[in-house]
Point group: C2
Chain length 381, copies 2
């Protein structure tokens, strides 16, 4: 939907709370990552879980090979419908999803999944055969995150899973994949560079070991915005990277130094509904902002988001508490409080953009203070 299709509201009339996407910042973030990944000599397969929005993904893959990473099968069907034909589903596959996966595989040129479970490939292959499709499969490796994947130093187990994939009729061993989620605990560029270096080196070692054991590893897939941003030397051949958060960034990433505060492209537009001594309350609460305090564990002064004025200029305020539809913003300065009567519209730079976006149904795209488009967000699973 663009201005050509409908009359769009403006920032003073759009119903609040509303999710605003700054087009200029979005495009700058995309251009920077594309240039950075080109310097790394890697392939960019962006993770669309952050935005769940085909129009954003189209900009994201411009000049790239076109592959994307998805976090739900609902995203898969929506992006296939929108013309994306090379998908990687980045949550370990389990039998309850075989039916829908095969259905999705029929709609795209290539669908890749991941597993760390040696008993699973024969079952998946049988399902694929029954459905008349083929699937690419990555072996998931744990490089220190401790969430999913076979630990990078359990080479026999990794080989066992890889052989189970390689020997299944309808499956192709696509390579190995990891997510260095531990990078989110790093607090400096140096720490992130260490995590990123380990991620790269451990994956390269696993790939070399598998090749030595006679298994081809066409692709080494690594991920996470913090580690990709931290990499500063070209990657070895066959690396693919899957950053997601960089499209929007957020207060957490800015506080960590992964981006600048003025790279944050996503804000929630909200209205003051109450003013009393020392505070205002706005109509953006736990649903509009999300209750993710992952960042706040380390950065309590971020709270549930950093508050700016209608133009997005920081006011030095934060959302300190949320209930379902209320957000409380302490305002110590009486002069500032005097300028925030009921009805004042504010913009909150969100704490964790992936979770905030998932709680909305659409973005209002803002260009230089004007709403220029309304883009949908894929819901559910």
């Amino acid at each position: 939907m663009t201005t050509a299709d409908v009359t769009l509201p403006d920032l003073l009339t759009v119903p609040t709370p509303a999710l605003l996407l700054d087009r200029h910042r979005l495009e700058r973030n995309l251009a920077r990552m594309s240039a950075h990944v080109a310097r790394l000599g890697a392939r960019l397969r962006p993770h669309v879980k952050t935005h769940k929005c085909p129009p954003i993904a189209r900009k994201q893959v411009a000049g790239q090979f076109g592959g994307i990473t998805i976090s739900t099968l609902a995203e898969g069907f929506a992006f296939a419908e929108a013309g994306f034909d090379d998908l990687l589903y980045a949550v370990p596959v389990e039998p309850g999803k075989f039916g829908r996966l095969c259905q999705l595989a029929r709609q795209v040129r290539r669908l890749a999944v991941l597993t760390d479970e040696p008993t699973l490939p024969p079952l998946l292959s049988a399902a694929a055969e029954a459905a008349g499709v083929s699937l690419d499969v990555f072996v998931e490796i744990d490089c220190g995150d401790g969430r999913t994947g076979v630990s990078f130093d359990h080479l026999d187990r990794i080989e066992h899973v890889a052989r189970a994939v390689a020997s299944a009729r309808r499956l192709t061993l696509a390579g190995i994949l990891t997510h260095a989620g531990q990078s989110y605990a790093a607090r400096t560029t140096a720490e992130r560079r260490t995590v990123a270096g380990l991620e790269r080196d451990r994956m390269a070692q696993v790939a070399a070991a598998l090749e030595q054991r006679g298994l081809a590893v066409p692709c080494i897939s690594i991920g996470s915005t913090p580690t990709v941003v931290a990499l500063d030397e070209p990657l070895p051949p066959n690396f693919e990277v899957r950053p997601g958060n960089y499209v929007f960034f957020d207060a957490f990433q800015a506080q960590c130094g992964v981006c600048a505060f003025d790279d944050c492209a996503l804000t929630v537009l909200t209205a003051v509904v109450h003013r009393s001594e020392g505070k205002v309350v706005v109509d953006a609460g736990a649903i509009a902002l999300s209750k993710d305090i992952g960042a706040a564990d380390f950065f309590p002064h971020n709270g549930y988001g950093l508050v700016g004025d209608l133009a997005g200029q920081p006011l030095g305020l934060r959302v300190a508490a949320v209930s379902q539809e209320h957000g409380r913003i302490p305002v110590a300065d009486p002069a500032l409080l005097g300028r925030l009567p009921v009805g004042t519209r504010l913009r909150v730079v969100v704490n964790h953009s992936c979770l905030t976006a998932a709680q909305h149904t659409h973005y209002w795209v803002v260009d230089d203070g004007t709403i220029v488009a309304r883009w949908p967000i894929v819901q559910g699973w």
Copy 2:
């Protein structure tokens, strides 16, 4: 949608993660609250923000006067469309919403709003007049929660707001309203009873003071599931109560003793996607469960939800960590871990049902282990 309309999936085939609503527990919770409020001699105006689902609200108002409480105007339009005609919008009103409020007022018999701001009623009245509608207005009182409302002991300010409403042509002073959000910090029935008693007494005093000053107070609206449940004596005349969470309850309310664990009607059905030493990882993460750790601040052993088997029987496990689409469940007992291979379906009793439900698009209604209906959830604002 019921079995008559479509072929419904069963618990083994419905795509995960999925939001399950136990019909028996729902109906038992509704019946108990209706009986309890009847004993209190009050009117029940349930808050639909917890479920955002017209079919549930229909059951909720059965035998009641039919009024409901809403938390967003999107709920307002959806419930008006579904035939509800007496709505109370329980977030303080601000000028940016006047247009849609007046539009909603045209679609229902009665729309009530609230304010604590004396400058607002004349503006609202002018908007209502221009739109050809009338609105009921409650003065919001703060009985100790510290979120919104005029403090109960600032009687002059309360009178000031009430007179601003009463003197506005298109507004009717509906009464006074409070939300005792501080009840969520109470940890025992005795503490909750104290909060509930203060809420009742302070509101009765404010009403008496206003009447003494010549202002009629037709309705005293109090709320919150914990305080309503804690009340054990009949309320004075003209009280209306607005509990919401009681339809589902959740792990937090159970841990607090507001309900029993087997009153919790809402679970997230999820599948194991990874198993390794000491843990499984499931496909219900921050979006499917919500990241609300309000409860976990006090009850870390609840985590992001308590884990049961497919029949809902507790397994003594919790979701200890979540990322967007992953939930980590520690499993110390090797024998139990052995019974949880990849693909196993589990049911998680959620931590805070209001926030979890708002992140899904529909409920699968379960009766004795069988899915019997699919009910929609209103999205957005």
